[in-house]
């Protein structure tokens, strides 16, 4: 690849990588929230059960 | 007219306190002189004389940082601010009072700094003086509200310069440009625009910053 094409690829890859990292972070957050919800639901059931 | 009276009373309070305590102003004066001398050594001898005007402005900015920090951030000032917020004074009058007082301090420091600069480096033109006057207004207007923001949280002294410096870049451009550019009027007009825009914004939004 010519150097111009290499930089072009770099730019698009950087953008793609950023978006993917962001999605990964949000997914991790979602997983944590799900865990918390189940935990709280357990506690609520113990309280009123 | 009570608004104007409030502003004057608030500014007078700060000035009288300083007159009695004599803490901030001597520190600012010494600081700006020491900075200018330090800059002399920081600049290689064959550097263009145009570069030195930039140093004057940086010295002014940093001295202003010092003065404005003292106006809002110490514990005593925080308690005073809480008291003022509870009083029937218009919140924006608090801001204006602080701006006036800080302007006085900064102006006094510059009365020393400008002649010193003229002595150590390069002569000071009237355009620079005009630029300094205009810039002072912007510095104090923006600095007052940012200092109040920083003072509301933790790590205030550290946070305030971080908040202040990005907003001060246009002031730097205006000030240095007025001195070295070939059309100083444009830069002075720009400084006036900065002042107008940010002073109005700060004046209008100050009450949201100090209300709990």
């Amino acid at each position: 690849m010519s150097s111009g094409e290499k930089y072009l690829a770099a730019v698009y890859l950087v953008v793609l990588a950023t978006v993917l990292v962001y999605i990964a972070i949000i997914s991790a957050k979602l997983a944590r929230l799900e865990r918390e919800v189940t935990e709280l639901a357990e506690r609520a059931r113990e309280r009123h059960g | 007219m009570t608004y104007a009276r409030d502003v004057v009373a608030l500014a007078r309070k700060d000035l009288l306190l300083e007159l009695r305590a004599r803490e901030t102003l001597p520190a600012m004066l010494l600081f700006v002189l020491a900075t200018l001398v330090a800059f002399r050594f920081a600049l290689p001898s064959d550097a263009s004389e145009r570069a030195s005007i930039g140093l004057l402005w940086v010295a002014i900015l940093f001295t202003a940082l010092l003065g404005i920090t003292r106006a809002f951030i110490p514990e005593r000032e925080q308690r005073v601010l809480d008291g003022l917020v509870l009083s029937p004074v218009d919140r924006s009058a608090i801001w204006l009072g602080k701006v006036v007082a800080t302007l006085a301090f900064l102006g006094a420091a510059e009365l020393v700094a400008l002649p010193a600069f003229g002595l150590f480096f390069d002569s000071v033109t009237w355009t620079t003086v005009a630029a300094v006057v205009l810039a002072d207004i912007g510095i104090c207007a923006v600095g007052a509200i940012l200092a109040a923001m920083a003072a509301a949280g933790r790590a205030r002294e550290l946070l305030f310069p971080v908040l202040f410096l990005p907003l001060s870049i246009p002031i730097l451009v205006g000030g240095v440009g007025a001195a070295v550019g070939d059309d100083p009027a444009r830069y002075l007009a720009f400084l006036a625009l900065y002042d107008a825009v940010f002073a109005i914004l700060a004046w209008a939004s100050f009450e949201y910053v100090v209300t709990e």
């Binding site: 094409e5 | 790590a155 907003l167």
Partner: protein, 219 residues
């Protein structure tokens, strides 16, 4: 919105890489433009959106605008950083340097980056509550006013900082290029919108969970 974003963005990228005519002077690296400028414009849009939400917060006092403004500023900062990175790479390909003070957009984004990075420092130093929401909102308003003022300042500064003249692609593109650009712009905006909604939902959920946890603790 996510589906629309995916479709438009993929289409845009495909157009940009495969279909748009090659620039005679700059060669293939010119195609970076199709991503770099839309990202920059999207960052501006995010900051503007954040400022609008901030204004709504101060106007109505409804706390939900705080999260919306905060998320928008967060998006803007991410896209702004991306602008700096892609712009730097573009500078490298076009002129061989990783940074150019003559490139107005880049300098503007550098100043904005400093400003909005401080936004987060400010927010994290403040205790939770309506006070923090208000102060963040005022700061966001300052930011959006800073954008045009800084731009003016940078233009004025060029007279004595670095009168470098680099030609670059502007609106004088061919029709095909412009079409590609518009598609990419739409795609980037949709992407920002999707990410914004996702992040906002996550933050809101977080908040509600915390409230739930507290009420369970007490109840």
């Amino acid at each position: 919105m996510a589906v629309a974003a995916a479709v438009v963005l993929v289409a845009g990228v495909a157009l940009a890489l495969l279909w748009a005519p090659e620039d005679a002077d700059q060669g293939p690296s010119q195609r970076i433009f199709y991503l770099h400028v839309p990202i920059a414009l999207t960052a501006y849009a995010c900051f503007g959106w954040g400022a609008w939400k901030a204004l709504r917060l101060l106007w109505t006092g409804e706390q939900r605008y705080d999260l919306e403004s905060y998320t928008a500023v967060h998006m803007g900062t991410i896209f702004g950083t991306l602008t700096l990175v892609t712009g730097s790479i573009w500078a490298r390909t076009s002129w061989g340097v990783w940074w150019s003070w003559g490139e107005r957009q880049l300098v503007l984004f550098l100043i904005l980056f400093l400003f909005y990075a401080a936004y987060f420092m400010l927010r994290f130093s403040l205790p939770d509550g309506p006070g923090r929401a208000r102060i963040s909102a005022v700061y966001a308003l300052f930011g959006v006013v800073l954008i045009p003022i800084s731009f003016l300042a940078i233009r004025l500064a060029e007279n004595f900082i670095h009168p470098v003249v680099f030609t670059r692609d502007g609106p004088q593109m061919s029709g095909d290029m412009f079409f590609t650009f518009c598609v990419c712009l739409a795609g980037t905006l949709l992407l920002a919108g999707t990410l914004y909604l996702n992040e906002l939902a996550g933050k809101r959920l977080d908040l509600r969970l915390r409230e739930l946890r507290e009420s369970l603790e007490l109840g």
